[in-house]
């Protein structure tokens, strides 16, 4: 993997961390004003005094949506950082362990079975996301091969593949005109259906997940060490990692239930955060939260503003994420880890 310049002083990291939070708040304001009413671009604040529709759009449509985007990005990035540290592997992300594929299958199943209400689709996605995690953990316990991390990785791959296959069957059975487009849209992600009511259902779980992951910031540094090293420092690696994963997955599953599958943010935002402020969990976790929130607010604002029709959020995150990450890497002095 790559790292920042070898002698980057900590004060620079602090300035960057403050910059990330400032960027997040600025993007929050810009995302609230961005849209296509009354014209494509930013809403003129003076309209709020005279235009009821503008006020309604701002407070009832955009505000919950921007908050949901911020929460989604924060949860995905914080969970991604936690997953990467817990597994000592910078290539894992929150959808790992069957969570994303389980959620996608759950949503598709609800749609095909005729439970088309938002809460039914979200609820089914949530249940199957947790089922994916549970199946991965149960399989890993029964495997008699390799260490804990390797077993969990293999179990996650197996469970993800199983749900991918099951999703393909559901798609095959779906009505191509009515159900298939909904399934396709859900698996590409989006926040168009979010409102205060749905946000209120998932936000407490997501916020609790974020609070737990933030509190565990430094502990994650300890857990990122090899098992015997973290054990020698007084940790219970297996139990503590399970707790962290449970907190992360609960947050991801709750937000995925309303957003669909949003890829890339959980994988690359933590990398970017570590490049900017360093690897220590005390700094990388809050930075991941701020950067994730900023990134998803920007992606969502672009998704709903660029075209008359809405772009799937997952497409925007993949496009902007890879572009931004590549630029960040190209602009840094990197050292190669032995």
């Amino acid at each position: 993997m790559a790292s920042g310049s070898a002698d980057a002083p900590r004060p620079a990291g602090r300035v960057r961390a403050a910059g990330l939070w400032a960027a997040a708040f600025l993007l929050f304001a810009l995302a609230l004003l961005a849209g296509r009413y009354p014209n494509p671009g930013f809403l003129d604040l003076r309209l709020l005094a005279s235009d009821d529709l503008a006020r309604t759009i701002l407070l009832s449509v955009r505000l919950p949506r921007v908050l949901a985007a911020a929460l989604l990005g924060a949860v995905l990035a914080a969970s991604g950082n936690a997953f990467q540290m817990v597994f000592s592997n910078p290539l894992v992300e929150p959808g790992f362990l069957g969570v994303s594929q389980g959620a996608a299958f759950g949503a598709a199943l609800a749609l095909v079975l005729g439970f088309r209400h938002d809460l039914a689709v979200s609820g089914s996605a949530f249940v199957f996301a947790l089922a994916g995690l549970g199946a991965s953990a149960a399989l890993a316990r029964r495997f008699r091969f390799g260490g804990w991390v390797l077993r969990l990785v293999l179990a996650g791959i197996a469970v993800s593949a199983f749900f991918s296959s099951a999703l393909a069957w559901v798609k095959y059975a779906a009505d191509p005109l009515r159900e298939l487009p909904d399934i396709a849209y859900w698996t590409l992600g989006g926040l168009s259906g979010i409102g205060w009511k749905r946000l209120a259902v998932v936000a407490p779980i997501a916020l609790a997940s974020l609070a737990a992951l933030r509190a565990a910031g430094w502990r994650l540094s300890i857990l990122s060490l090899e098992d015997s090293a973290s054990f020698s420092l007084g940790a219970r690696p297996g139990r503590e990692r399970a707790l962290v994963l449970a907190a992360a997955v609960a947050g991801v599953a709750s937000m995925t239930a309303v957003s669909g599958i949003v890829s890339w943010a959980g994988l690359i935002v933590p990398h970017a955060a570590r490049l900017l402020v360093g690897a220590d969990g005390r700094r990388s976790m809050p930075a991941s939260i701020a950067l994730g929130a900023a990134f998803l607010m920007a992606c969502d604002a672009l998704s709903r503003s660029l075209l008359p029709g809405e772009l799937p959020l997952g497409v925007t995150t993949a496009f902007l994420g890879t572009a931004g990450f590549t630029a960040l890497l190209l602009g840094r002095v990197v050292t190669v880890v032995r």
Partner: protein, 269 residues
Amino acid sequence: MLEYRQVCLRYPEGDRDAVAGFSLSVPEGSVRALLGPNGSGKSTLLLAALGWMRPRAGEVLLAGRPVSAWSPGERARKAAHLSQIERVSFTYEVLEFVLMGRAPHLAPLAEPDEGDEERARAALDALGIGDFARRHVTALSGGELQLVRLARCLVQEAPLVLLDEPTAALDPANALRVADALASLAREGRTVVFSTHDAALAAYASDSVVLIREGRLLASGPSAEILTPELLSRTFAVPFGVSGAPSPFVTGSSIRAAGGGRGSGSWPR
């Protein structure tokens, strides 16, 4: 401080004991070298003292109680452990990495404060690597990383320090630095148990030596009495020369020469 009582240890995938019927008592303030060839069970014994491996039979006592009877935090405040190698996946700064040694002294979700940071800096200074503080651990050489990991052990401030092949990756100058650090730990009253296959290091840094072969204790006692050609030859299953005769395992030929370390030998300088 540390006692093995008829300990048998076996790895889950193993079909025989890695350590069999091993008994040893390590008093407080002593520096004990576990000397034996590769695969003789030295690392396994240290992992059992840490509580990472549980005996199949017998028991390991740490400060008078079975290791497993201590809570993880209590155990980590009593015993620090340096493994042979350690892969680090993230680009921690050296100071951040050493600071992790303070974890046993903090509540699970607490973060280290400035006092902890001062201790971490002092540990780096004690090993002569204070200028490493802002470097990234992933950019260090193997020997430099070993010193940094030793600093993390020191900052743990445990009365028992378990070191698995602490000088294996080090050049002579850095190996001497580590050997002297062991001696200074003993002067502070800490107990040190280290494994090695280097008789010269055992002679220089320890006050007594334990010879191990195939998971069994061959001999134990003051280094001057134990490090004889006969016993070393039995331990390593090769002819061993102490003064003059070349040996594949001993750098130089100075085990019996007078030295400045804790034991009876001198470190080749």
